[in-house]
């Protein structure tokens, strides 16, 4: 029956739902997983970059995690082409703020601006929504380390730890169980790998498919973004892979 009410974004169904938005959210559940965990001394992000074919030329190491500014990173799950548009928009908005106010753009402002773009496509124009969920990780003097998430509907919220993409509901279950407010960065790294490996088919996990990002403060108290080395990723995988014993 809902068939009649799902071909256009700009109408509600009789149950009060906007089906196109829900279908967009559904598209993201087939995309590569992103797990982001906030801890006392930093944020750890684990993203699975799906390799569609062995013939892909170079190691694409920038498909999930994008630097938006000196203090902010955006991780995407969903339709990569849609994500590129939004990431580009976010980067431009950051620079606009910097030029006008001579200060780093506040995370929430950028999150809200991108979310408003997404919302636009659920109410006007008859164009389909963006099939992208974005997780933002940022550091600010005022707020410390923060995680935000926005989905195709344009809703956004701040999170202690979040997962989007494939297996997100079961991974969120693990995070809910095991995340504590006094978790530190090492704990966060282990938790992320543990939560990722749990619902997975072990054979298909390979360290080359991961993009990682650690957000901490350097010795001058400025935000520092680093990826984990392949060795460390291998170690974390080995330690947190539950089937390893057999």
């Amino acid at each position: 029956m809902s068939r009649r009410y799902d071909s256009r974004t700009t109408i509600f169904s009789p149950e009060g739902r906007i089906h196109q938005v829900e279908y967009a959210i559904e598209a993201i559940n087939h995309a590569g997983t992103v797990i982001a965990i906030n801890s006392k001394n930093g944020i750890f992000i684990l993203a699975e970059a799906k390799r569609p074919s062995a013939l892909i030329a170079d190691k694409v190491d920038n498909e999930k995690i994008y630097k938006l500014s000196g203090c902010m990173v955006g991780c995407v799950a969903g339709i990569t082409a849609d994500a590129n548009i939004l990431i580009n928009y976010a980067r431009n908005q950051v620079q606009n703020h910097l030029q006008a106010f001579n200060e780093p753009a506040p995370v929430e402002k950028i999150v809200r601006q991108v979310a408003n773009v997404k919302q636009n496509y659920t109410q006007y124009g008859g164009l389909r929504p963006f099939g992208v969920s974005i997780v933002y990780a940022a550091f600010s003097r005022e707020g410390g380390f923060k995680l935000y998430h926005s989905d195709p509907s344009g809703n956004y919220a701040s999170w202690k730890s979040i997962c989007i993409g494939a297996n997100s509901s079961s991974i969120i279950g693990t995070l809910k169980e095991k995340w504590t407010p006094d978790i530190d960065l090492t704990g966060a790294k282990n938790l992320a790998f543990e939560a990722y490996c749990k619902p997975c088919d072990v054979q298909s996990i390979s360290s080359k498919n991961f993009e990682t990002m650690v957000l901490t403060l350097d010795s001058d108290d400025k935000p520092l973004f680093q990826a984990l080395g392949t060795d460390e990723v291998e170690n974390l995988l080995k330690e947190n892979n539950p089937i390893k014993a057999s």
Binding site: N62, Y66, L68, S69, R91, V94, Q95, Q99, N102
Partner: protein, 211 residues
């Protein structure tokens, strides 16, 4: 065609000079911010902007436009480095600036710019100067700009030598700047010098005549 240009370029006063040495480049500016010839509003206004670890931009002209152009170039450099995930090269930056200035062909920014930097990997010096419409000249020795342009040429021409090391380059550049601005009412009130070497950048303030 642009009758106002000369007047506006001299409204705030200022001077910038850059010289190339052996695997190093140095850039210096005065510190005066003046208003309409006779009033000095500030003596703490350096006209050098850092856009990368080995890339500096020196601007003279209308200070309002100096601030806008430097902020806009910072905007473009930031986006370039985010998208390309590498640092912008000096000659690429010069093209970006030139394009930006020419975009305002019929209502220009009243700035005259000098780009000073070291090429990546080889660390060869790079010097370029741009006029208000983005017309570019790449130099091998020195570049000058400002209300005392003629005086700066007069100082640089006899003092500059090839392959000066960073200490000597600093001395030559400082003397060129100080003596040129002392023959110009609209420049001076302090001086700042920046030496760019492959492994470090040194910023120094000079003791100058405060008049």
């Amino acid at each position: 065609m642009n009758g106002d240009a000369d007047k506006l370029l001299a409204y705030n006063g200022g001077a910038v000079v850059a010289m190339a040495g052996k695997q190093c480049v140095a850039l210096a500016s005065d510190m005066r911010f003046g208003r309409d010839q006779f009033q000095t509003v500030s003596s703490q206004f350096p006209k050098l902007y850092c856009l990368g670890p080995r890339l500096y931009l020196g601007l003279t002209g209308l200070i309002s436009d100096i601030q806008t152009v430097s902020e806009t170039m910072q905007y473009h450099v930031n986006l370039y480095e985010l998208n390309e995930r590498r640092q912008v090269k000096p000659h690429v930056f010069t093209s970006m600036l030139s394009n930006h200035l020419y975009a305002k062909r019929f209502g220009p920014f009243y700035v005259e710019s000098i780009v000073a930097g070291l090429q990546p990997k080889t660390y060869e010096p790079y010097l370029a100067s741009l006029d208000i419409l983005g017309g570019t000249t790449v130099s091998k020795n020195f570049s000058v700009t400002g209300t005392c342009k003629a005086q700066l040429y007069g100082m640089c021409e006899p003092l500059w030598k090839t392959d000066l090391d960073s200490m000597n380059l600093f001395e030559v550049l400082s003397q060129a700047l100080l003596n040129a601005v002392d023959r110009d009412a609209l420049s001076g009130w302090g001086a700042t010098v920046c030496i760019i070497e492959p492994d470090r950048v040194t910023l120094r303030t000079l003791k100058a005549r405060m008049d």
